[in-house]
Structures are given as C-alpha cells and as structure tokens.
Subunit: 311 residues, 2 copies
Amino acid sequence: MKRLVIALGGNALLQKGQRGTYSEQLSNARRTAKFLADVIEKGYEVVITHGNGPQVGAIMLQNEIAKNEVPPMPLDVANAETQALIGYMIQQSLQNELRKRGINKEVVTLITQVLVNKDDEAFQNPTKFVGPYYTEEEAKKLIREKGWVMKPDPRGGWRRVVPSPDPKDIVEKNIIRDLVDQGFIIITAGGGGIPVIKENDTYKGVEAVIDKDLASALVGKIVRADTLLILTDVEYAMLNFGKPNQTPLKKVKLEEIEEYYRQGHFSPGSMGPKILACIRFIKCGGKRGIIAHLEKSSLALREETGTIVVP
Amino acid sequence: MKRLVIALGGNALLQKGQRGTYSEQLSNARRTAKFLADVIEKGYEVVITHGNGPQVGAIMLQNEIAKNEVPPMPLDVANAETQALIGYMIQQSLQNELRKRGINKEVVTLITQVLVNKDDEAFQNPTKFVGPYYTEEEAKKLIREKGWVMKPDPRGGWRRVVPSPDPKDIVEKNIIRDLVDQGFIIITAGGGGIPVIKENDTYKGVEAVIDKDLASALVGKIVRADTLLILTDVEYAMLNFGKPNQTPLKKVKLEEIEEYYRQGHFSPGSMGPKILACIRFIKCGGKRGIIAHLEKSSLALREETGTIVVP
C-alpha cells in the first residue's frame, strides 16, 4: 500500500476566520507540508490534489470588482490561476520541508485539465454556488447580460450557480503517470481540475466546477494508487450526521458504505462527494479510501483514525 | 539541431490595440499554436517559454483595485498565476492543433521557480516598471506603507519598480529535463519564472521580475537544446537601431555580436536581453540562437530570416 493520492481540503491553506492573506496561506502551506513530508518520509509515493473554494472565490471577486479596468476571465481560467497560486505555495513549502529532512524527492505542479461529458446532466441543472454575492437587481442584470444562472444563496444575497459535472478523464494523464512512476511528487487536478469538454475532437474550457474529491479518485485510478487519502477538518464521516444518535464510521466495507450512501447519511455538498470518491476509487481497483483529519494523516494511514473504506 | 527552446513574446498572446479579453488571448494562442505545431511537425523536440508583461500587469491591477475586499497577492504569486493563465491557453490550443494534425505528442505546463542570487546587485537597484499607474501622492503613500520603490514612469504617472535579477538555476530542472527527454512538450519558466532566493537552505519567493529571454537561455542549457528560438514582432535585431544607417543583423558569430552588444547597439529593455540570451546560450554549448518574427518561425529555423547567432 505504497502509492497514495492525498486530497487536501480547504483547511490545508486557510483556517477559520482567516482573510486569506498571502502570509496566512503560506504559513498554512508550510504547516501542511510537514504532514505531507511525514507521509513521504515513511516511503509512500505521494500524489497531491487540493481544493480551491476560497481562492477561486477571491479571484472571481477580483475579476468582478476590477471589471471596468481589466477584462474579467472566465471560471476555467480562474481555476487555472488557483492551481498556480496554491500549487506554488505547496510545491515550494514541500520542497523546503523535504530538503530540511534530507529527502531527495522533487515536486512540481502541473496545470491540469479534467474532461467532462458535454451531455452531463449537470449542465442542465447548475447547482454549485460560486463567486461574489450580488443584490437581486444586479443578479437579474447578469442573467440578462451574460446568460449566467443566478440564485438566492441560503447564506444571503444572490450568487452565480454553475454546473458541477462528473470528471471523466484527465487530459494530461500520461504525463501524470509517467512522473509518478519515476518517483517525482506532483500536485495535480487542483480545485478539481480545469473543466473541459470535447467538441469536434477539440478541447474547450467550460464554466463549471468539478468536485475535487471525485477528481482525486480519478487521479488515483490513473496512477494506480493503493490508497486515496482525503484530508479534511473532521476525523470521521458520521452516520446520522447531526442527529443525537450520530456515530463515527470507522473501517467499513464497500457494500456497507454504498448502502449508507444510498440511505442519505452524507450531505451532498460536503461529506457526500468524499464518500462517493472513496466508493469509486475502491470500485476501480483501489485498496483503501480514507477520510481523515489533516493533522492525523499519518495516524490514518496506520488506520488508527479516520473513516476507512475497503473492498 | 533537433532540440529547441521557443521563447514566445508578448505578441503570441496579445496584439497591438487589444484589451486582453479571454477570447482575444485564446484566439491568439490558437494562432500561435499553429506556428508551434508547424515546427513540431518537422520533428523538433520543443520546449516552450513565454513572456507575461500585459497579463501580470492586469493581475496586479486587479489586486490593487480589489484590495479592500481581497487581500492582494505579492508579485511572485501574480507571476505564478500568469504561468497558469497563459500556460493553460497555449497547452490546450497546442493539444488541439497537434491532435488535428495526427501528431501524438502531449503537452503540459509546469509551475516553475527560477533561482536568483539574493546578493544580485539588481536588488540594490530596481529598474523594472510593473503594475498599475499611480498619482505622485498615492505613490508616496505606498513607499511609506509598503516600502515599495516607486518612480515616475517616462510614459506618465508613478509606478512600482522592482529588481530584475539574473536567473541562476531552475528549481524544477530535473523534472523539466526528464519530461523533455521522454518526448513530452512542456511549457515552463513562463514570465521568466517565479523568482525565488535561497536563504538558510530554504526557497522563498521574491518580488522581482526575471527577464524571460535570459530564463529561456537557462532552460536551453538545462535541456541541452541545440537551438534557442526567440520569437518576437520584428524580423531581425538591428545594428544602429533607429538611426538612418540601421542594418538588419543576419547570421553573426558569437565574437562579433558580443562586440556589438558591448558597443550598445541593442536597447536594454527590449532587444538587449534577447541578444544577451543568445550569447549566453551559445557560450554554454548551444549551436544557434535565433531572434525572429513569430509568424516566420519555420523560415527562421531554415535560416531564411531572423538574426542567427552561431559559435
């Protein structure tokens, strides 16, 4: 069980209450690099993926505020920019941490496009809130002028909603597999990857958001990883989450968790996709899908904490 | 002469008078991809680098305008973001163009850090204008509050000036060399690379701008390229540039062009670094340094146009 995809959650780069300054994010990246190095030091071959929620929101907000001076970029470009922003911080922090420990491993970030199906039903039913908050009036103007889908966000204000299509393939998969096979550490499919469709045999970016855990499961399949380790800010997935009888899920077999998933134990926007990512990963040959707390990554690999899905 | 570093200039992505919308830049990238594919089709192993002047300016302006809402990122992060923005467009456009021609080659963008010497004298003498224009009053406030160096730009207004240190090494060089040796096409060191220094054996980003042609010469050395092809919007470097007796430089030997360089024939901000990049490239084992017009890249490789520096 030595090849590992690590999917970093939002808390790897931003902690609650932080505004997201560079020094905050860099200091979190350096802390995260220690957890990653702990795992690498144990001999695991590691591939890193990560979320980008707050960062892509910040870039979209910059695009919006500066739009009269600077032509705003679409969401696929904003995603690419977060791959660089976050990738750079993790890449550099991990290079430094590995050197400090005398581990001779190299790290690089790949700008990664993830193929989605242009007929994915998500395109008919956008559900993912992204970017800044608008008044109803502004929102209706954007609907008219840009054709965006805008909806009231339960947290207040109107926001753009975009499709969250299913990741089907990774355009750069051969390069990814090659680098991993040669012992390099790569950061890939950041923020779920840049979503692209294929039309007339041509790749084209689309304004959508791919779930980063589902994309990570796909990365796991491509590099033939043994373990998918999804790091987040809770220690376990819960049965009956939020109810008086909630129970942490520890080691669980594929069939069992599929049943829980169907029963709706996991909320669609957060734990749901993590569970689904583990299910998919096991179904395409993975040996373990683990959901665990960022700070307990090494413990989780020893199966002393975390929700662990096995075949 | 089959391994080639192609350094794309600003006109590969933006043409005169364009505002820099996504559709403008993507359409230019697609056009540029055809020139690149023409060269790849002839059997050259190609490594791509590129400038980022207008794009990094746009991102810095967004950072400035939105600074009350979104914590602005430093220049090294803005550089990383342009590597993704531009890399993504060229990567996708070239993938599409190659597939259309039935060429089975893969392309990826690497987030690349370029090491500079922390004692580089450029840090004592910042010279490179970057980012938005300010009033004198705003500029003086930024000098006080952020410690930035601000100077009146000859084009009007005050602007930040940053150091332009000499590129010394590429942090990700082994990965670059490995991918090129295996036949992959990479886009690397965009915008001259993210400038980093080494302090206490730790890499750290610095707010500076590395000349993209000098960085490209370094890439050429690292991948042991035969040819460095610097593509720009003129056909030749000129002797006595701008004077009545200006003469295009065609094929020229290293010693001769070094002499012209010392005599000051080439302007420091534009042709100078291109010539210096060719000189350095030849001195570290390259066979040809070519400066040519983007649209004439294939002709230039046949030595039918362009300034061609040889040992």
